[in-house]
Amino acid sequence: MKRLLIFGLLSLFLLPLGAQTINVTDVPWDDGKALDFHWDFPKQPDSLWLCLQDAQANNTRIEIPLSKAGTQRIGELSPGETYSFLLKAYWGDERERFAAIASPKAAWFYLHKWLFLLLLLVICGAILGYIFAAKQGKDFFIRRINGLDSMEEAIGRATEKGKPILYVPGIGDLDDIETIASLTILSHLAQRCAEYNTDLIVPCRFSMVLSASREVVREAYQKAGRLDAYKQENIFYLTDDQFGYVAGIDGIMLREEPAANFFLGSFYAESLILAETGFSTGAIQTAGTAQAHQLPFFVVSCDYTLIGEDLFAASAYLSRDPQQLGSLKGHDFGKLLVILLILIGVILEIAGITWLKDLITGALA
């Protein structure tokens, strides 16, 4: 404590002397852990020696470049604590000492991130705005998803041939949003199946998915007024095991030869086994997943593929659920914003103006 006092007094005494030569400032808009140390001598010194003392009187030597004038940022400090600086400068035999006191302050906002915050608020605001508008009953337009065209074709073919339709809701459990989206589509398909009196087979991997699927299909048959045609035993549990599940479905495809297969939900390594077997039985195949790695296998061996977001869009399109619909519109707003930003950015870059890109990159630092 005593040492600190002496150091402090010394600094006070020397302060007026060094005021114009050295200067310590707080780094603005930061977490209060850094100070900027500036120095400016009339002539080039031969050597410089800077020492920093914290409130507990611990001294740390700080390396600074040997130059006539400069600024050194000192980090890793504690916010609010007072730090004393002592700089010794040598010109041959001549020596001078300068001292300064400063304390770093924590700000209430990272100013450089303002654009990041603004974009966050704009995108989130758009999503929320659309959700609330949808909940108020506003009906938004969503284009028809191409992959869904298969539904009518599939039902038509199945009715004509008198064969069932196979629907696989993916290998995800009920906490997976892809499975949820898949069940929405299943509900729609089941209703059409009920209307045309076509059998619908739904093998499930998890018991939770099983009960949800039964619920969904039963409801759909009820809506179509054909509850009598609903066959609970067609919606069944196969096994929890990933490959065992696929082997089971393979067996069904070879035995029953469904007229149409639907693989919608989350799929992993098993996608290609399913798609291959289905392809070889000649069924009309529709697949959809958000797992980008698996899409190639579906694209080559299925007639229709819902790619990534398509799966969720299809679910929103069919269910008209305000939450899904509003969200999707919000995302669309974001996509438009992204496209616009990219196009403006590219034009500016070609013109040699890097202002916009620097602005966004700066906000992300």
């Binding site: 284009r143 790695h293 519109k329 590219v346 916009l356």
Partner: protein
């Protein structure tokens, strides 16, 4: 007895090593037997795998999370770490999910975990997968050094913009709007082709690894 144990120890150890390799080979072939059809060997190997994997996770969760980050801290300096009783209690509430009557209590730790993950994902995805990708696409296509790079840069910009437009659902894809969407799907197809090629590479690699084990460690052909 002890000296007897010691004297056979090297023999036992080399026996155990050979036994281990045979065990590995047995398990490897059992899994491969699925290629013929689903059979008892495969089912057995599969369940052993599930069991071992679960035990491994359990042991490591206890050893590397619960002991050092919770129990050791609480035992070492209870006063200083008493606040850790809160996550410990929340963790125990998580386990109450197993019983239907106490299941509702697990919603609190769940809400905290999901809330934290959601907020972190929101920030990170917005930054890394959206905004950084936007600035990475803001390039001067003419800035490339070779013709290949210039063409590539144009494709990069075109593909990104059209690809994003492909996932735009608020407009019917008719007339002029059909064009970017079509281009977008072409780019997606090229990318899927690349993924396809890479997947072939990955799966073949894994097979090479297993065959190498069978040929080198087990049969000692190589």
């Amino acid at each position: 007895m002890l000296s007897f144990m010691q004297s056979i120890s090297p023999m036992l150890s080399s026996f155990m090593q050979i036994f281990g390799i045979w065990l590995s080979a047995l398990f490897t072939l059992s899994i491969f037997s699925f290629l013929y059809k689903d059979n008892p060997f495969y089912k057995f190997a599969e369940q052993v795998f599930v069991g071992l994997s679960a035990a491994y996770w359990l042991v490591y969760i206890i050893h590397s999370i619960l002991i050092p980050n919770l129990f050791a801290k609480l035992i070492g300096d209870f006063g200083g770490n008493a606040i850790l009783l809160i996550p410990a209690a929340l963790g125990l509430m998580m386990l109450l999910r197993l019983h239907p009557n106490t299941q509702w209590l697990s919603r609190y730790p769940m809400a905290i975990m999901i809330g934290t993950t959601a907020a972190i994902s929101l920030l990170r995805y917005l930054k890394s997968d959206i905004l950084f990708q936007v600035t990475a696409t803001m390039i001067n296509p003419l800035g490339g050094e070779t013709t290949g790079e210039i063409v590539g840069n144009f494709l990069l910009i075109l593909g990104t913009v059209c690809g994003v437009f492909f996932f735009y659902y608020s407009k019917k894809q008719e007339g002029i709007y059909k064009v970017p969407s079509k281009i977008g799907i072409w780019f997606l197809m090229i990318s899927f082709g690349a993924t396809f090629g890479y997947t072939v590479m990955a799966r073949v690699s894994l097979l090479i690894g297993r065959l190498e084990f069978l040929l080198r460690d087990w049969l000692k052909i190589i």
